[in-house]
């Protein structure tokens, strides 16, 4: 087969060298040719003196590092010109070199080698990644066989080699090839026997260097049985801590740390388990202080792959599983063994979290077949809190893995008239004495009943607060089965769960709650708040029918302030739902009295409880929840009047007056509705939509952490009225960040912005697009606009209870601190408001409309900062889309760019 490029057939005069014992051995001089037969390239050198004698015949290999370079050894007789040398390593691990007389000859053979290699690579398909770094390496390194006398020399040679990538590469290669670590290990004991601290320090440095070479083969090797103790032994003598000696060997020698609940027959797997443990120990203890990023990740991935292998093996091992689950049979009396078995399963589940979905599913399936649910029930009822913790852990892992499956299990139990897991959990929560476990069980109940908890992606967010996870998936429609499940829950179990709240009815004194009760009540109130947000509309009916609001309000008169706070926050959640009936129940029962009591108790002190109260009233005021404002002011006006240490309550009264007699205050409807604020909200929303993209493109991440209320708002609107999921999600995203528009010039920048009530605003829409033709809107257009709005608003209820679905992003906000007299501000606000529909159109159109909005704001002279910010959003939007993945890391952990070195946090 002919070569496309002329083959290197004309003869090149060359010297052949072989590396022997660190020296280049001259094998003779001859003529070099290259030939290609059946896609296999070979290089021949025929002796100059005896043409029949072949000095060299070598196959051009795909991987071995061929290198073209200048002279490398002083032993070459004449000074070599640049690029007359080709160096490579034979398959037999011999280093070879061809020294050409002419640079051209060298180049020709080099081209031949490259050509052959590229052919081979083309044939063998995609690059296997191994040959990437062959180009610029390999000055082969030889270290002398180590003994106590030459450690200093070895250390120095290593340090020198370690300073360049090529040197590191060569060093790794040598260390692996020469089995160097095995030779080093005995020296540790020798040095210890001769009490030579200097040598021990050198050995430690050498070991550190070797491990930090970050070579997988080396790292895997150092944890093998034969050498691990020697290696960590050397690492016990860290010269950075000359007066200390660690006791790694002692720790790793201790076999009792390995709990073999069921004998693992497979020797390879047993070994892997020990390797994994040692790798972890290396990572966490021995090397913790000095690990660099690459080594850290190599250790992590080694650990991960081992764990995958181990779990895969165990879960497919029928005999093993059978024996494992038989431990829980009544015949077995060894309680410690049962406990260990639970902990073993817990550890399996923890590892399973990082497995791929299908292998994980298989694992759980096999576990469930074996009797996992029985184990959970056993664990949850165990007298040892540690086992209960493990049981809850397993349960939560299971729910995270597949909530639907869990629910179908519970259905099955219901149908079979056996006690479902939910009821077990509820019973246990009510009696649990360990406050930590109690908290965990409350969380488990939330996760189990979280309608969003059925996607596999959930667990990627980890064990963070389940509430966040829950909110994330709110936009997804409920699976019918989930819905039935929740319905069942409210029919069968919810009353049991909240019975203690119910029992508060008629209780005279609230100042004698036990620690257990206090803890239980705060969990119950939190769970109830969670349900209210999650289970529309069932939880609302449930709360209404049982009048839980009054019970929660009762808790506000207990002396435990954190419980007070939980109760208060429950009401804050209710108000954020804008649910007329819930509000009405609160008003009928005069529960605002209880809330105002807290204000009275705490004022004028500046503390958390007081701030939470203020936030609640600010919210009502800002949202202009007329139903509530009317009630509060009409029933508590005198009380409100006396609260003067902040202006929240006076402005609440003022808002009431404005709502009822706008004309007396000379206000336009805009002042009442807060137009500028609304505009700011929309603008911010749009900006935030972009931001969302930046933060990882995920509604998820964004939703995960954003302001509760904004999202809620969007959720409820979305799920109740909005058929178009995507629009709802987009709106949610945009509204979410309503609070985040930086640089909004007037007032808007100043207030703690919160989400807004939906507001029907058809006319604005129609108008919006008209006057803003890329630039400063004409004054006439503004006036016209203003007028139309006045007319429009007059005949309208300020806060409709069921907003039309298509107005999702038209969030309105009242901005108290807006400078009412600032005409410029008003104009600019208005300009923004007019363009606020930009975000209503969905995320897609934001870019263009945003710009327009920015222009409007700037043009009116008040929005200097506004447009700038908008411009930022524009610019990053496109970036954000492209780099969503990376940016998310930054968002998630502030570490994306800085790495472990941390550019600061």
């Amino acid at each position: 087969m002919a070569l496309a490029v002329p083959p290197a057939n004309d003869r090149k005069r060359v010297k052949v060298y072989e590396l022997k014992n660190g020296d280049w051995f001259d094998r003779g001089t001859g003529f070099c040719t290259g030939s290609l037969v059946n896609d296999e390239g070979r290089i021949y050198v025929q002796s100059e003196d005896e043409p029949n004698r072949t000095l060299l015949e070598t196959k051009v290999s795909k991987d071995d590092g061929y290198q073209k370079q200048q002279g490398m050894s002083p032993r070459f007789t004449k000074r070599l010109q640049p690029d007359t040398l080709i160096v490579w390593t034979e398959a037999s691990v011999t280093d070879m070199a061809l020294s050409f007389q002419e640079a051209e000859g060298c180049a020709a053979i080099w081209d031949f080698v490259s050509e052959v290699q590229s052919r081979q690579q083309a044939l063998s398909g995609p690059d296997d990644g191994l040959s990437d770094d062959v180009i610029d390496n390999l000055h082969p390194i030889m270290l002398p066989p180590p003994d106590l006398s030459n450690l200093a020399e070895v250390e120095n040679m290593m340090r020198a080699a370690n300073s360049t990538p090529a040197g590191r590469e060569a060093l790794s290669k040598f260390v692996v090839g020469a089995d160097y670590i095995t030779k080093l290990v005995p020296l540790v004991e020798m040095a210890e026997n001769s009490e030579s601290l200097a040598d021990l320090h050198r050995l430690c440095n050498i070991m550190k260097t070797l491990i930090l070479l970050n070579d997988t083969a080396i790292i895997e090797y150092v944890v093998t049985d034969d050498v691990v103790l020697g290696v960590v032994g050397a690492l016990e003598y860290d010269p950075d801590f000359p007066t200390h000696k660690a006791n790694h060997r002692q720790y790793l020698k201790d076999e009792s740390r390995f709990k073999e609940v069921v004998k693992i027959e497979d020797e390879g797997i047993r070994k892997k388990i020990h390797f994994t443990y040692r790798l972890q120990y290396l990572k966490d203890v021995v090397l913790a202080r000095i690990l660099d990023d690459p080594t850290f990740s190599v250790l992590n991935s080694l650990i991960f792959f081992h764990q995958v292998d181990i779990v895969q093996h165990l879960q497919s091992n029928v005999i093993f599983l059978k024996e494992l689950f038989s431990i829980f049979s009544p015949q077995v009396t060894d309680q410690q063994r049962k406990k260990d078995a639970v902990l073993f399963i817990q550890q399996c589940c923890a590892i399973a979290k990082s497995l791929q979905a299908n292998s994980r599913a298989q694992l759980y399936q096999n576990f469930i077949t074996g009797g996992l649910f029985g184990v959970i029930t056993f664990a949850l009822r165990h007298q040892d809190a540690a086992v209960r913790v493990a049981g809850t852990d397993i349960l939560v892992a299971l729910i995270d893995h597949d909530a639907l499956m869990m629910r179908s299990q519970i259905f099955k139990a219901l149908n079979e008239k056996t006690k479902p897991l939910t009821d077990t959990l509820i019973e246990l929560l009510l009696v649990e004495v360990d406050l930590g476990v109690k908290a965990q069980m409350a969380d488990a109940i939330k996760v189990l009943l979280d309608p969003g908890a059925n996607t596999a992606s959930m667990e990627t967010l980890g064990r963070a607060n389940n509430e966040y996870l829950a909110r994330i998936q709110r936009a997804t429609p409920m699976v019918p089965q989930t819905d039935t499940f929740i319905q069942k829950f409210y029919e069968e179990s919810a009353r049991k769960l909240f019975q203690p709240l119910k029992d508060l009815e008629g209780r005279e004194r609230m100042d004698n709650l036990t620690v257990q009760e206090v803890s239980l009540y705060s969990h119950l109130v939190e769970v109830l708040s969670f349900f209210l947000r999650q289970h529309t509309p069932r939880s609302r009916l449930f709360v209404l029918s049982e009048d839980y609001a009054s019970r929660v309000a009762q808790l506000m008169s207990c002396p435990e302030k954190h419980l007070k706070l939980s109760a208060l926050k429950y009401f804050r959640v209710v108000f954020s739902l804008h649910e007329e009936h819930l509000n009405r129940q609160i008003m009928q029962n005069k529960l605002f009295t209880n809330i105002l009591n807290i204000v009275y108790e705490t004022m004028p002190r500046d503390n958390l409880l007081n701030s939470a109260c203020l936030e609640l009233f600010e919210y009502i005021k800002r949202e202009s929840v007329r139903q509530l404002i009317d009630h509060i002011v009409e029933n508590h006006r005198d009380r409100l009047k006396t609260i003067t240490y902040v202006d929240t309550f006076q402005s609440l009264i003022l808002r009431y007056e404005q709502l009822h007699h706008p004309e007396e205050y000379g206000l336009t409807t805009q002042d009442i509705e807060g137009p500028a604020a609304a505009a700011a909200a929309a603008a911010a929303a749009a900006a935030a939509a972009n931001r969302g993209v930046i933060n990882g493109g995920g509604q998820r991440w964004q939703a995960g952490l954003k302001d509760i209320d904004a999202e809620e708002e969007a959720y409820f609107n979305g799920s109740d009225d909005e058929p178009d999921e995507e629009a709802a999600a987009a709106a949610a995203a945009s509204v979410a960040a309503a609070g985040q528009q930086p640089g909004m010039p007037n007032g808007a920048a100043g207030a703690p912005l919160r989400p807004l009530v939906n507001y029907p605003d058809d006319e604005d829409d129609a108008m919006d697009m008209l006057p803003e033709i890329d630039g400063v809107p004409s004054a006439a257009a503004q006036q016209q606009q203003q007028q139309r709005q006045r007319q429009h608003r007059r005949g309208e209820t300020p806060v409709p209870q069921t907003p039309p679905p298509e107005r999702l992003s038209e969030k309105r906000r009242r901005e108290e601190d807006e400078d009412e007299d600032d005409e410029l501000g008003r104009l600019s606000g208005q300009a923004k408001r007019r363009s606020s529909t930009g975000s209503a159109g969905g995320v897609g159109g934001n870019g263009v409309r945003l710009r327009r909005k920015g222009t409007g704001g700037g043009g009116s002279g008040g929005g200097g900062a506004g447009p700038k910010k908008i411009a930022i959003s524009l610019a990053v939007k496109s970036q954000g889309v492209a780099g969503a993945g990376t940016e998310m890391e930054g968002g998630a952990g502030e570490d994306g760019g800085g790495g472990r070195e941390g550019d600061g946090d």
């Binding site: 200390h244 902990l343 073993f344 930590g436 958390l608 952490l705 222009t855 002279g861 910010k869 941390g902």
Partner: protein, 464 residues
């Protein structure tokens, strides 16, 4: 010896207290913290500290350098946990001290005091390792939710009070060094930097706003040994370099937050209207206070962190003016020199984790603000003042690429033309409050031998 004192003694020895004690401690702390406002009022004198990040032994070093609790009044600006290997010991000790001496130590929340972040950056794993379950992590996270968001230091003296400190060999005066003695006239000293051995490394005199004088203190003034950073470029001078000087009227208060400002917060009173008892949200005012960073930009910019914002000098000056602040102290960013003043000394970053992550090679600093009354009888020497005014100082080298608005490439520039004439405050027209005298104590990581090898706790038992 009360249980609490016992716990403190244990923790000081870097040993853990039992889980039930942790729970009790957290409950007590909760009761205490719920009484604090979102912005805690703190009276000078106070020592302000930045990130700790679980570097327990360095926290001990901090107490050695800054004085022990309760002798010194401390304010920690968050990020007690994560990264380092002793988050639990560090945070629990601080919490114990808080419960024991509530008026002598103030803890505010950092962005790492959050469930989400701690699950990623080590604290969660540490709790799991050291206590075998996540319970302690839950208790601590509950406490995090109660931590204040900021603190307002009032009554800080505009002038430094003299110390008994001696001059370090490498001492550099911004004025003329031959005149300097430890007992020099402090009336004019704006900043004094000391090392861990209580030796004065450098002093910067207060400058007035004569443009000729608005220049850099000596660069590289902190080079040298004795625990001083050897990094080129003096600590904080990168910032003080473009300082217009903190001149004019009386001292205002000092706001301390972990991260920085928020576009949603224009007055400190607005912070009061937040319900802080929640996980740190991903957006909104509370998030910004914990996540934002100052930067050499105009106005606000997107933060590369993905949360919070960047904010420029104009924002800081406007905020300080409006709220009658002389200085904002914040943490959140690693600074190699331990502290860094920016924007004409209107904001300072304080970083208290030396050799961050056991490898960054940075020094740490704490900021001492003296009590106002202390300089009441202190006569200002006109001679010194005149002299300091008369000497020209080297002009600051502009940082390459970071001129005013140098970072606007991030898209901010686009809006500028249109937005002209906006609300960006007219710079320098605001007579800002005279910054308090700042005494920085710079220290290095605790000597390694004093603390054994830092390592995580190994996994105790293993099944797999």
């Amino acid at each position: 010896m009360s249980d609490l004192d016992k716990a403190i003694a244990l923790l000081r020895a870097c040993r853990l207290i039992p889980e039930n004690q942790v729970r009790e401690l957290c409950y007590k702390a909760r009761e205490l913290l719920i009484e604090e406002g979102n912005v805690v009022g703190v009276d000078a004198p106070v020592t302000i500290c930045g990130d700790i990040h679980g570097q327990f032994h360095d926290l001990m070093e901090l107490f050695r350098v800054g004085g022990d609790v309760p002798d010194t009044n401390y304010l920690f600006m968050g990020d007690f946990v994560d990264r380092g290997f002793y988050s639990l010991e560090s945070f629990l000790l601080l919490l114990c001290l808080k419960v024991r001496y509530p008026d002598r130590i103030t803890l505010i929340r950092g962005n790492h005091e959050s469930r989400q972040i701690t699950t990623v950056y080590g604290f969660y794993d540490e709790c799991l390792r050291k206590y075998g379950s996540a319970n302690v992590w839950r208790y601590c996270c509950e406490v995090f939710d109660y931590l204040a968001l900021g603190a307002l230091v009032s009554g800080a003296a505009t002038n430094l009070e003299p110390t008994s400190a001696t001059l370090a060999d490498t001492f550099v005066d911004t004025d003329d060094s031959q005149s300097s003695t430890p007992a020099t006239d402090y009336a004019d000293i704006d900043i004094e930097v000391l090392n861990a051995n209580n030796e004065i490394l450098s002093r910067y005199r207060r400058r007035d706003r004569d443009p000729l004088m608005s220049s850099s203190p000596v660069r590289g003034g902190m080079s040298g040994s004795n625990g001083a950073p050897r990094a080129a470029g003096a600590a904080g001078t990168g910032a003080t370099a473009d300082s217009g000087g903190s001149a004019s009227n009386d001292g205002g208060a000092v706001l301390c937050v972990h991260g920085g400002l928020s576009p949603l917060i224009d007055t400190i009173d607005k912070i009061r209207l937040l319900d802080r008892k929640q996980e740190v949200p991903h957006e909104g005012a509370m998030c910004d206070l914990l996540w934002s960073d100052p930067d050499e930009i105009d106005g606000w910019g997107l933060s590369p962190r993905g949360a919070g914002f960047l904010f420029g000098a104009d924002i800081v000056k406007c905020f300080n003016h409006r709220n009658d602040l002389s200085l904002i102290a914040r943490a959140h960013q690693l600074v190699m020199e331990g502290f860094k003043e920016m924007f004409d000394a209107t904001i300072v970053t304080v970083w208290s984790a030396p050799n961050y992550c056991y490898r960054c090679g940075n020094v740490a600093a704490i900021l001492e603000l003296a009590e106002d009354g202390s300089n009441a009888g202190f006569a200002r020497s006109n001679g010194d003042a005149g002299r300091s005014r008369g000497l020209p100082m080297p002009m600051p080298m502009p940082m390459p690429g970071i001129g005013p608005g140098g970072l606007q490439g991030q898209g901010q520039g686009q809006g500028q033309g249109q937005g002209g004439g906006g609300l960006i405050p007219r710079q320098m027209d605001i007579g800002h409050r005279m910054a308090p005298g700042r005494r920085y104590r710079v220290f290095e990581a605790a000597p390694q031998d004093s603390r054994g090898m830092p390592a995580k706790k190994p996994v105790a038992d293993y099944f797999l």
